[in-house]
């Protein structure tokens, strides 16, 4: 289909602004741009149809099953979007005086209270805009804590090899050296290797629990104790909180600081890759280091306070506020019992689908899983030369968004499946049927999987050529 620039026609346009009602002031010629500004010239109807066509060439949770592991693609309730669009939220300038933004501050303070209750933390900032942004923020809290105690030798962050790639990347950005610890054969933390890795240079450990293979690490209390005993702090990557919220709290597992992904666990839409929200919660010992602009109850109302030894700011203002509004509406809807119900059913759905698939596909790790599970297609790859990628691309022809591919790195030919709690049994049954038929197709006619997809808007794009000869913009 055409790009906006290709549909553009000289002289077309929309009628948006009235004529200027004051005398025109022109800036001096020397200040002005010489390069022509080439933006598309389109009537409103052209714009409308362009984006409707783009919408048809995309796939959202509204279009079908989206079991993208580690991303928690649950249904995004519509009331939340409507509440975020209220003029009383969307129309508020971030630098209005405090007495005119009491509602906004109440949103932040209430969301903090609810989420601290769910996670077992004492304080929370909403400034980070995404999970990785939260990781950076949380690590800065850990760094500031050690420095405030004059404990300057703690330069290392321990990260299991099964961790999300953002963990080591965030640790490096926060100025730490990363120590990778191998997982054991169950995909969990190898306690002996962890013991060997900690020491007087340990600043902390970053961990996801349930971990990235979808297993709750039973040794969690021992893990966090090993780190604490060595003088380090424990960081909880909240990517997988959807499995355990309302059942067990990171704060009770021995974690000192966490980030959440409101766009995963708390149902806010992913927006094609953002905006998300990655609030960071911490225990009291870290609260003084939180970023600037912390909303707090003050007398009858609320006020922004600046934590005494704040690490500063990771962005302007107070975070992706309208995302927090959506999450709060979701929390109001679910309440305490609903939060627990969501987690339980996320785990139930994952185990149900796993049970349905386990005789066809090889599940990477045995036993009851949490909210997601990992399949390994190593055998299929070896015997039929059909890869995880081929299976994923074939699923596209069946209207299913494929699971996360090739993650975690410790599993070969991995497909990571996370159905979430908002899928019905019928959807899971139908998906299981499709997964099975694709497997049979791989045994029968492997070539057809290499050729997939055939019904999507495009066939497989040449990614190598894209990277070798980057074309990152339209050439007029």
């Amino acid at each position: 289909m055409n790009l906006l620039f290709e549909t553009s026609r000289e002289g077309h346009g929309c009628s948006i602004l009235p004529p200027c009602d004051v005398p025109v002031t022109s800036l001096p010629e020397t200040e002005l741009r010489r390069k022509e500004l080439r933006l598309p010239q389109l009537a409103e109807v052209d714009i409308s149809r362009h984006y409707s066509a783009l919408e048809r060439r995309a796939h959202g949770v509204n279009n079908g099953f989206y079991p993208l592991g580690s991303c928690t693609m649950k249904y995004n309730p519509k009331i939340n979007d409507e509440m975020a669009a209220l003029p009383g939220f969307a129309g508020i300038h971030p630098l209005q005086p405090a007495h005119t933004v009491q509602g906004c501050l109440e949103v932040l303070a209430t969301a903090e209270q609810y989420l601290c209750e769910i996670t077992g933390m004492d304080a929370m900032t909403f400034q980070p805009a995404a999970g990785a942004h939260g990781e950076l923020t949380g690590l800065l809290l850990i760094k500031a804590y050690h420095q405030s105690r004059g404990d300057t030798g703690r330069t290392k962050i321990i990260v299991p090899d099964a961790a999300h790639g953002t963990n080591p990347a965030s640790a490096a950005m926060a100025g730490f050296t990363v120590v990778n610890v191998p997982s054991n054969d169950k995909g969990c933390v190898d306690l002996e290797k962890l013991r060997a890795a900690v020491g007087p240079d340990t600043a902390g450990l970053m961990l996801t629990n349930p971990n990235t293979v979808g297993i709750f690490d039973e040794a969690i209390l021992e893990i966090t104790k090993i780190v604490h005993d060595a003088g380090g702090l424990n960081y909880y990557d909240g990517a997988n909180l959807n499995a355990v919220m309302g059942v067990v709290r990171p704060g009770d597992m021995g974690f000192d600081v966490i980030h959440l992904n409101l766009h995963k666990t708390f149902s806010t839409p992913h927006g094609g890759g953002g905006p998300g929200s990655g609030p960071v919660g911490c225990k009291q010992l870290l609260a003084d280091f939180l970023p600037l602009y912390y909303a707090k109850k003050a007398g009858d109302g609320y006020a922004f306070v600046q934590p005494a030894q704040s690490v500063g700011s990771v962005k302007a203002f107070y975070g992706n506020f309208l995302v927090v509004v959506r999450a709060l509406a979701y929390l109001f809807t679910l309440g305490g019992d609903g939060v627990r119900e969501a987690a339980q059913n996320a785990v139930l759905n994952a185990n149900y689908l796993r049970e349905k698939l386990k005789d066809t596909y090889e599940v990477a790790f045995d036993g009851i899983c949490m909210h997601e599970f990992v399949l390994t297609l190593e055998k299929l790859k070896k015997e039929q030369d059909v890869s995880a990628l081929d299976v994923a691309k074939t699923l596209l022809d069946h209207g299913i968004h494929p699971p996360t591919m090739y993650f975690p790195l410790i599993v070969h030919e991995a497909l990571m499946v996370e159905p979430t709690e908002t899928e019905s049994r019928e959807t899971l049954d139908a998906a299981a049927e499709i997964f099975r038929s694709v497997y049979e197709q791989a045994l029968r006619d492997p070539q057809s999987l290499h050729d997939a997809p055939t019904t999507a808007p495009v066939r497989r794009p040449d990614e190598v050529a894209a990277a070798r000869n980057p074309r990152l913009r339209y050439q007029f």
Partner: protein
């Protein structure tokens, strides 16, 4: 209690049976009993109707100002209806990062169009799919410019304080130094810049127009920076970009900015949009997602996430940044805004901002609020205040007007195309009453 779980109790029981478990609790056998909680200490869940009431009540505790003369990093521009309509489309809202290119062409193409428009606005060669906001974009830009022997970042003290703070936070995190270049008469002091530039400087960040609204001599400053072998980063206002010399024309190596003026509501500070563009030479140092054009196996045009070898999921601790998501929906918002305005409309909006700000500055001067600084400005300006700024703002508030932001003993005003002549006249009248002029 509200719920979005579609299965019935009976279905859940059957599903447990199928797995071979007796209860939901059995799903959590791996969780040590000592840690488990049996309930969450929160109010009961509510119906949709009740939730609407609760949220509306909270929103009602905020004051929505019908007239706004405040900017300082968040700008009240008109948002065409088509913008809101397009970005409310359910698929755009609920899709995730376009990992599966074949079924994500819609999202990928929209980002490619966005990247093209950002290149057009800035004059630069390449742009990424966006980052969190303008402040984090500036911080990421500083990281792009860092080299082994050149690590120091110079930042104009006339940049937005929150941008400065964010750059400082990121740089401190990586153990690199930030030095502020002082302000003289409301603009970056070029002599001070020269004296601070040395072989350890990686880059210099300039905001255009600056925090005080003034238009900096960006090309001349850029030349000074390049003479000392450092990189030049500019943070620009995307509406002003329709009129002002492009960062490329000013010699910038990296151009960033806050994209909120391009169709995003004020939203109490977010979600906003950080845009980033750079020269061809710097392209592979850009952080975050980048969309590229290629062809599929049938030779048809297709778009993909590209240059991923820079990114965290491949390079882990050696990645150019930890950024994983972008602000895709906000980037689309900006694209639709720019498509609806077109170059003519954007220039008109920019010209009206500039004209009305100058009209307002003259009216405010007559009302006893003279301009603090000489020099060309775009749509923001600082005045002195003959009486305490808080008194002035209280008065305006009583008339439904959000006045300028009190800074450094004066007031930073902002006027956009949304402000009518009548509103500006009214503002001046009220100020006259306060000042007694």
């Amino acid at each position: 209690m509200g719920s979005y779980v579609p299965t019935t109790k009976e279905e859940r029981r059957q599903m447990l049976d199928f797995i071979g478990l007796a209860s939901m609790d059995d799903l959590y056998a791996a969780v040590p009993a000592s840690m488990k909680i049996d309930h969450v200490n929160l109010p009961d869940g509510k119906s949709e109707l009740e939730v609407r009431g609760m949220m509306e009540e909270i929103a009602g505790k905020n004051r929505v100002f019908p007239t706004i003369f405040r900017g300082a990093g968040a700008y009240d521009h008109y948002i065409p209806s088509i913008v809101k309509s397009v970005v409310s489309k359910e698929t755009f809202l609920t899709a995730y990062t376009p990992y599966q290119a074949e079924i994500s062409q819609g999202i990928l193409q929209s980002i490619f169009e966005f990247q093209t428009m950002i290149c057009e606005l800035t004059g630069m060669d390449a742009a990424n799919a966006s980052v969190y906001d303008g402040a984090s974009a500036a911080a990421e830009a500083a990281a792009m410019c860092r080299e082994r022997r050149r690590t120091k970042t110079l930042v104009s003290a006339a940049a937005h304080p929150m941008v400065i703070r964010t750059v400082q936070t990121y740089c401190e995190a990586s153990g690199t130094e930030v030095v502020l270049v002082p302000v003289k008469d409301g603009k970056t002091d070029s002599e001070a810049l020269v004296s601070l530039l040395d072989d350890s400087c990686a880059c210099f960040y300039l905001q255009q127009p600056n925090y005080y609204g003034l238009i900096e001599d960006a090309a001349a400053l850029g030349e000074l920076v390049h003479q000392k072998g450092a990189k030049y980063m500019m943070g620009i206002n995307p509406i002003a970009a329709a009129l002002l010399k492009t960062p490329a024309e000013c010699g910038a190596d990296v151009a960033v900015g806050e994209g909120q003026p391009l169709g995003m509501p004020l939203s109490f500070g977010g979600p906003y949009l950080g845009f980033m563009a750079c020269t061809q030479a710097m392209m592979r140092r850009l952080p975050g997602r980048i969309v590229g054009e290629t062809a599929d196996t049938d030779g048809e045009r297709a778009f993909v996430l590209t240059l991923q070898a820079r990114e965290q999921h491949i390079r882990r601790e050696k990645a150019s940044s930890n950024i994983c998501s972008n602000q895709a929906l906000c980037a689309m918002t900006a694209s639709v805004y720019l498509a609806a305005m077109g170059a003519r409309g954007l220039r008109e909006a920019a010209s009206q901002c500039c004209s009305k700000a100058h009209y307002a500055a003259a009216a405010l001067k007559r009302a006893g609020f003279p301009l603090r600084y000489q020099g060309d400005f775009f749509h923001e300006f600082v005045t002195d205040s003959p009486v305490d700024a808080e008194t002035v703002l209280k008065k305006l508030e009583a008339y439904g007007i959000l006045g300028g932001l009190p800074i450094e003993g004066g007031i930073l005003w902002c006027v956009t195309e949304k402000n009518t002549r009548a509103q500006i006249d009214r503002l001046a009248e009220l100020l006259k009453e306060v000042s007694g002029k």
